[in-house]
C-alpha cells in the first residue's frame, strides 16, 4: 500500500511552485519518519567501539573507586557497597541488555546534554544507556551510570517528560542515594540510625521511609534542574501520568476480532467480550512497604512547584520532535519483541495489533503476531491428551520453569482485556486454525520470508500431530454455500437412498446446525490455494488418523529401569558454542549469605578457562561468544552475545516440556551457519562457604535449531571449588558431549 505522503508527492511533482515545494518537503519528512516502519523493522543493535567500562573487570573498577575513598566514616561499608555496585553494573553492561551508540541511546544522550548544558563538568561524569527491558522504568548507579528502559521510552509523550525522568535519576546519582541507603541499612541493623522507631515494625519500615524521602528529593531536585533548562515544566505533570498508567499498553486502541477474520473465517461473537473493565489506576495506594511514595503524594509534593513565569517560552521538545517520535516508535517496535522474550504473549499480541493498525504491511509485526499466537496455542490443552507429542529431553532431569497460562482477563483493565478474553476462550483447534489462517496470509504477502514459511509448517504440523486434523476434516465450501446447495442425499428421488448417502446427509445437516464450528470453515479460502494444500498434504503424509480406540485403550508403556533413566547419553558432538559461564561465590555466616564479588569474578574467568582447556583435551571444537576480556573492536561479539542471551533466557523460561517457539530463531538460523554448529553449552557453579563449603554445578546443552535441551546435568558436592574440582566436573560433562556411544 502506498503511503499518503508518497502519493501526494507523485501528484504534485509537475508543479514546482514554492508552496508545492514546501508541501512536498513537509510530506516527505512525515513520510520519512515513518517509512522505516512501513514494511519491515530490524531490531536495534549496538554499534561503534566498546567503551572502557565494557573492557575492564568489576574488580578493577571497584579498586579504582576504593582508592579514591580516603579516610572516611563507615569505610568498610563504603567498600562493600562499591564492590557490589560495580559488580552489578558490570554484569548489566555485559548482559547484552544495554544498547550502545544506537539511535535510542544517542537520542537519550542528546536530551541529557540539553539537561546539563550549563554544567559540562557534571555531564562528563554521567553516562546514559538504554536497556532492552519492557518495564516502564529508569534507574541510576551512584557512579553516574543512568539506564532508561525501552518500556519507558515507548510510553512517554514528549521529550520534556524524558528530560524530567533523566533529571530525577541524575539526582539519585549525584546525591549518591544508593550508598546512603546502604549505610542506613547498616545503621538500622546496628541500632544507630536516626530512623530508629519505637516498635519493631517501625524499624522494619524505616528503610522504606528513607527511600521514599530520597524519591521525593529526586523529584524536587530534578524539577530544579528542569527549571534551569528551556524544557516545559507543565509537561512534567504528564510524566506522573505515565507512571500511574504504566501497567497499561502504550496506546489504548479498540481490539476487534475482525482483525483476524476474512471472507471465510468468522469468529463467533462469544469470543468478543461485550464490555471491558474501566481503567481505575488508583494513585493513592498504600505505599508503606514501597520504596517510592504513591503517585498522589508525589504529585502533591511537586504540583505547587510546577508554576513558572516563562512557561510560554519553554518547549516540550528541544532536541527534536521528529526524533522523539521516531525513537518512541522504535521503542514500541522493540517492545513487541521484548514481550515475546519475556513470555508476555498477550501484550505482544496487543502491542503488535496496535502498531499493525498503523503499519498494516509490516512483516516484523506480522511475525510477532504469528509467533505470539503460536506460543499461546501450544500452551493450550489438547482435546485428546493421549495424542500429545511428548518431548523427551536429554538426561532426564528438567530445568525448573513455570508453565505458561494466560493471565485472568478479569484482572485486566481497558481494551486489551478483549485480547485476554478471546485467547482464554479459544481452544487449541480454534486458535490453531486462526493462527494458521493469519500466518499463511502473511506468508502469501511475503513468500520469500523463510520464518513465515516455517511458522506456517509448524502450525500445520500442530493441526495434524496434536489436533489430529487432516485436509478432509475441513470444509471446502462455506456454510452459505452448503446451505444453498441441496443436501447430498436428495440427488435423485427416484433412486433408492443408499446407507452412505443417508449418513452423509445427516452429517452435513449436523454440521450446518453447529453454530460455533467456525474452524471447520475457516480454511475454505486457503484450501483453494494449491501451495497450501500441497504443504498440508506433505506434512500429513504417512500419518493417518489415530484409531479412536486409542483414546481409551492406551498401550502399556514399559517403565524405564533406573539404570536407563540414569544413563547419560553420549552425544558425539564435534563442535559447541560456549556461553559465558555463570558463577556465584557466597559467604554464609549462618544468618545471611553475602556475595563475594571479587572471588566470583575471578572464578567465573577460571571456569571459562577450564571449560576451554577441557574442550581442547577432548578435541572438542568450540566457538566462544564470551564477553569477558573483550577488546575495543569486539562489538560483533558483544551483539552476538546479546542475542544469544535473549535466546537462552527465553528458552529457559519455556522449560523443558513446553513446545513454545523461541522467537529469535531467524537470527539463530543465520548464526548456526556461521558457527558451524547448532549446539550451545552453558555451565555454572554456585559456591557457598559456611561451616561446610558446598557447590551446585549445572551444565546445559541446547540445540539451537529445535530449542531442545540435549543435556541437563546438575551436581551437588562439598569441598573447595578449586581448579581440580572444576576440571573434574567440566571434563565429565564435555566428554559426554563429544564421545560417541560406542
Amino acid at each position: 500500500m502506498k503511503d499518503p505522503g508518497v502519493f501526494l508527492f507523485y501528484n504534485m511533482r509537475l508543479q514546482f511552485t514554492p508552496q508545492a515545494l514546501f508541501i512536498i518537503l513537509f510530506c516527505f519528512l512525515i513520510n520519512y519518519s515513518n517509512a522505516q516502519f512501513e514494511l519491515d523493522y530490524k531490531p536495534v543493535i549496538s554499534s561503534g567501539t566498546l567503551p572502557a567500562e565494557f573492557l575492564s573487570t568489576a574488580q578493577s573498577m571497584s579498586e579504582k573507586d576504593i582508592s579514591r575513598l580516603g579516610d572516611i566514616k563507615y569505610k568498610s561499608a563504603n567498600e562493600d557497597f562499591l564492590k557490589s555496585n560495580n559488580y552489578f553494573l558490570h554484569e548489566l553492561l555485559l548482559s547484552g541488555d544495554v544498547l550502545l551508540n544506537d539511535p535510542l541511546s544517542q537520542y537519550v544522550n542528546k536530551v541529557m546534554d540539553e539537561l546539563l548544558k550549563g554544567d559540562p563538568s557534571v555531564r562528563s561524569t554521567i553516562k546514559v544507556f538504554v536497556t532492552r527491558s519492557p518495564d516502564v522504568n529508569a534507574f541510576a548507579f551512584d557512579n553516574g551510570y543512568i539506564f532508561v528502559n525501552i518500556g519507558l521510552l515507548a510510553q512517554l509523550e514528549n521529550e520534556a517528560q524524558l528530560a524530567y525522568v533523566l533529571s530525577h535519576e541524575l539526582t539519585h546519582a549525584l546525591k549518591k542515594h544508593s550508598l546512603s541507603q546502604y549505610i542506613e541499612n547498616i545503621k538500622l541493623k546496628e541500632g544507630t540510625s536516626d530512623y530508629e522507631g519505637g516498635t519493631a515494625k517501625e524499624r522494619r519500615l524505616a528503610r522504606y521511609r528513607f527511600s521514599k524521602e530520597h524519591e521525593s528529593e529526586a523529584d524536587l531536585e530534578g524539577l530544579k534542574m528542569m527549571k534551569a533548562t528551556k524544557y516545559s515544566i507543565k509537561a512534567i505533570r504528564g510524566a506522573f501520568d505515565v507512571l500511574q498508567y504504566s501497567y497499561l499498553p502504550f496506546e489504548l486502541v479498540e481490539f476487534r476480532k475482525s482483525f483476524f477474520e476474512d471472507e471465510f473465517l468468522t469468529l463467533p461473537d462469544t469470543l468478543n467480550l461485550k464490555k471491558v473493565s474501566d481503567i481505575k489506576a488508583n494513585d493513592d495506594y498504600d505505599d508503606t512497604k514501597s520504596t517510592h511514595p504513591n503517585i498522589r503524594k508525589r504529585r502533591g509534593t511537586i504540583d505547587p512547584e510546577l508554576v513558572v513565569d516563562d512557561e510560554n517560552n519553554r518547549k516540550k521538545f528541544l532536541v527534536s520532535e521528529a526524533d522523539f517520535k521516531k525513537i518512541r516508535e522504535t521503542s514500541r517496535f522493540e517492545l513487541c519483541r521484548l514481550y515475546l522474550v519475556e513470555r508476555d504473549y498477550m501484550n505482544a499480541i496487543y502491542a503488535s495489533y496496535i502498531l499493525l493498525q498503523k503499519y498494516k504491511d509490516n512483516i516484523y509485526l506480522k511475525k510477532i503476531m504469528g509467533k505470539a499466537l503460536y506460543n499461546v496455542m501450544v500452551t493450550k490443552p489438547i482435546p485428546d491428551q493421549s495424542f500429545t507429542p511428548s518431548i523427551s529431553i536429554g538426561a532426564g532431569r528438567s530445568s525448573s520453569s513455570k508453565q505458561y497460562s494466560i493471565p485472568d482477563y478479569s484482572n485486566i483493565e481497558g481494551p486489551s482485556q478483549r485480547v485476554y478474553y478471546m485467547m482464554e476462550n479459544m481452544n487449541s483447534v480454534e486458535l490453531n486454525v486462526m493462527a494458521l489462517s493469519y500466518v499463511y496470509k502473511a506468508y502469501k504477502q511475503y513468500p520469500e520470508d523463510k520464518a513465515l514459511s516455517v511458522l506456517t509448517d509448524s502450525l500445520i504440523s500442530h493441526l495434524v500431530y496434536s489436533n489430529n486434523l487432516y485436509l478432509n476434516d475441513f470444509s471446502r465450501k462455506t456454510k452459505t454455500e452448503l446451505k444453498a446447495a441441496p443436501l447430498s442425499a436428495s440427488v435423485d428421488l427416484e433412486q433408492e437412498e443408499s446407507k452412505y448417502t443417508s449418513i452423509k446427509r445427516d452429517q452435513q445437516k449436523a454440521e450446518l446446525e453447529t453454530a460455533d464450528n467456525f474452524s471447520k470453515y475457516a480454511l475454505v479460502g486457503l484450501l483453494k490455494e494449491q501451495d497450501f494444500v500441497s504443504r498440508y498434504s506433505r506434512i500429513s503424509k504417512g500419518h493417518t488418523k489415530k484409531p479412536f480406540t486409542e483414546s481409551y485403550a492406551k498401550p502399556v508403556q514399559k517403565k524405564p529401569s533406573k539404570n536407563e533413566e540414569e544413563k547419560v547419553p553420549y552425544l558425539g558432538i564435534k563442535k559447541v558454542i560456549f556461553l559465558d559461564p555463570y558463577y556465584l561465590k557466597l559467604k554464609d555466616d549462618g544468618e545471611k549469605k553475602t556475595v563475594k564479588y571479587y572471588e566470583t569474578e575471578v572464578h567465573q574467568q577460571l571456569l571459562g578457562t577450564v571449560q576451554k582447556e577441557c574442550a581442547d583435551k577432548l578435541h572438542l571444537e568450540y566457538m566462544d561468544v564470551s564477553v569477558r576480556n573483550l577488546q575495543q573492536n569486539d562489538l560483533e561479539k558483544f551483539n552476538q552475545n546479546a542475542l544469544f542471551n535473549d535466546w537462552v533466557e527465553e528458552r529457559l523460561k519455556h522449560g523443558n516440556k513446553s513446545r513454545e517457539l523461541v522467537t529469535s530463531y531467524e537470527f539463530i538460523e543465520e548464526f548456526i551457519k556461521t558457527a558451524g554448529t547448532k549446539y550451545v553449552a552453558w555451565s555454572g557453579i554456585s559456591n557457598s562457604k559456611g561451616k561446610v563449603e558446598r557447590n551446585n554445578y549445572f551444565f546445559i546443552l541446547m540445540d539451537l535449531e529445535t530449542g531442545k535441551q540435549v543435556k541437563y546435568q546438575t551436581e551437588e558436592n562439598k569441598g573447595r571449588d578449586d581448579k581440580a574440582m572444576l576440571n573434574s566436573l567440566l571434563y565429565e560433562s564435555l566428554s559426554h558431549v563429544v564421545k560417541t556411544a560406542n
Binding site: Y697, E716, N717, K718, M725, N727, S728, L729, E732, S735
Partner: protein, 262 residues
C-alpha cells in the same frame, strides 16, 4: 615371594591398562590411572617398633596403582611393606610326654631386651568410592580394601632362654638361637580420606584408615590367649604376630602423593 608380588603388580597393570579405553568414566582430564607412593603411619602406642621399645612411629610404605572404573569409583591395587617389633610378655611352658611316659616341660623365657622383628609385605585390593558431585580422583572418598599380609618374624640369638627339665636335677638352660617364621594373614581396612589434584598432574591424598585382622579376633574369641594350650613355639609366634598385626592395622593416618599417569 618377591617374584609373586612383582608378578601380581604386572598382571594387574597389563590387564587394566587396555581397559582404560573402555572405561565408563571419562577420567580426570581423560586420565584413568594414578600411580603413587603412600605412607600409613601412627605412633606405636602399645607395641614396640622395629628393633626398639622406645617410642616411635610405625610406618608403612606403599606403591599404589589406582584405576578409575566409574565416575566416582576407583579400583585400587597397592603393594606395601612395613617393619615393626613384637614383644612377648609371657613365659610359656611347652609340655611333651616322651616315649617313657614322662612329661617333659620346656620353659621359654622371652628376653625383653630386644623385640622380635616383624617384616610384612602386603598386597591390597580394594575400591575407593568418592563422594557424589565430583569425578574421581578428586574429593572425599571412602575406601574398602582387602590386604593380604605376608609376614616374616625373625628372632635373634638372645630372644629366648629355654629351660628344659629333661632331668629335674639338672635342667638344661640355654638360648634358642636365631630363626624366623613366615606367616600369612589378611586384614580388612576402611579408609576415609580426601584427594586433591595439583597442577592437573599430582594427586595429593590424605586420610585415616581403620583395619581389622580377623585371625587375631578369631584367636581371641577362641580364648587361645592361654599359651599353655599352644603346642609349639611357632603357634605362639603366629598368634603374637596376628595380634601385632591387629594392633598395627587398627588405626593409621595416611598421606600419599601420586601422579596421573594415563
Amino acid at each position: 615371594m618377591r617374584f609373586k608380588e612383582i608378578f601380581s603388580v604386572c598382571i594387574s597393570a597389563i590387564t587394566l591398562w587396555p581397559l582404560s579405553a573402555l572405561a565408563q568414566s571419562p577420567g580426570y582430564l581423560g586420565k584413568h590411572v594414578t600411580l603413587g607412593y603412600s605412607n600409613n603411619f601412627f605412633p606405636a602406642l602399645i607395641g614396640p617398633v622395629a628393633k626398639s621399645y622406645n617410642k616411635g612411629l610405625n610406618s608403612t610404605h606403599g606403591l599404589n596403582f589406582e584405576y578409575t572404573i566409574k565416575n566416582r569409583t576407583n579400583f585400587c591395587f597397592s603393594f606395601q611393606r612395613f617393619r615393626t617389633g613384637v614383644n612377648i610378655n609371657h613365659t610359656f611352658i611347652q609340655s611333651k610326654v616322651d616315649s617313657f611316659g614322662n612329661t617333659r616341660n620346656t620353659t621359654y623365657n622371652f628376653d625383653s631386651k630386644e623385640p622380635l622383628l616383624l617384616q610384612t609385605n602386603g598386597l591390597c585390593f580394594g575400591f575407593k568410592f568418592f563422594d557424589p558431585g565430583v569425578l574421581a580422583p578428586v574429593g572425599k572418598y571412602r575406601k574398602f580394601e582387602l590386604v593380604l599380609l605376608f609376614s616374616k618374624l625373625t628372632y635373634g640369638g638372645k630372644s629366648f632362654i629355654i629351660f628344659d627339665n629333661y632331668t629335674n636335677a639338672n635342667p638344661i638352660k640355654g638360648k634358642i638361637g636365631t630363626g624366623e617364621y613366615k606367616f600369612n594373614s589378611f586384614a580388612l581396612t576402611y579408609s576415609l580420606g580426601r584427594q586433591r589434584v595439583l597442577f592437573d598432574l599430582l594427586v595429593l591424598d590424605y586420610g585415616i584408615q581403620f583395619g581389622v585382622v580377623p585371625a587375631a579376633l578369631v584367636a581371641t574369641l577362641n580364648m587361645e590367649s592361654d599359651y599353655s594350650s599352644l603346642s609349639t613355639l611357632e603357634s605362639v609366634l603366629r598368634q603374637e604376630t596376628n595380634r601385632r598385626l591387629f594392633r598395627y592395622e587398627t588405626i593409621n593416618l595416611h598421606i600419599g602423593l601420586g601422579f596421573l599417569a594415563f
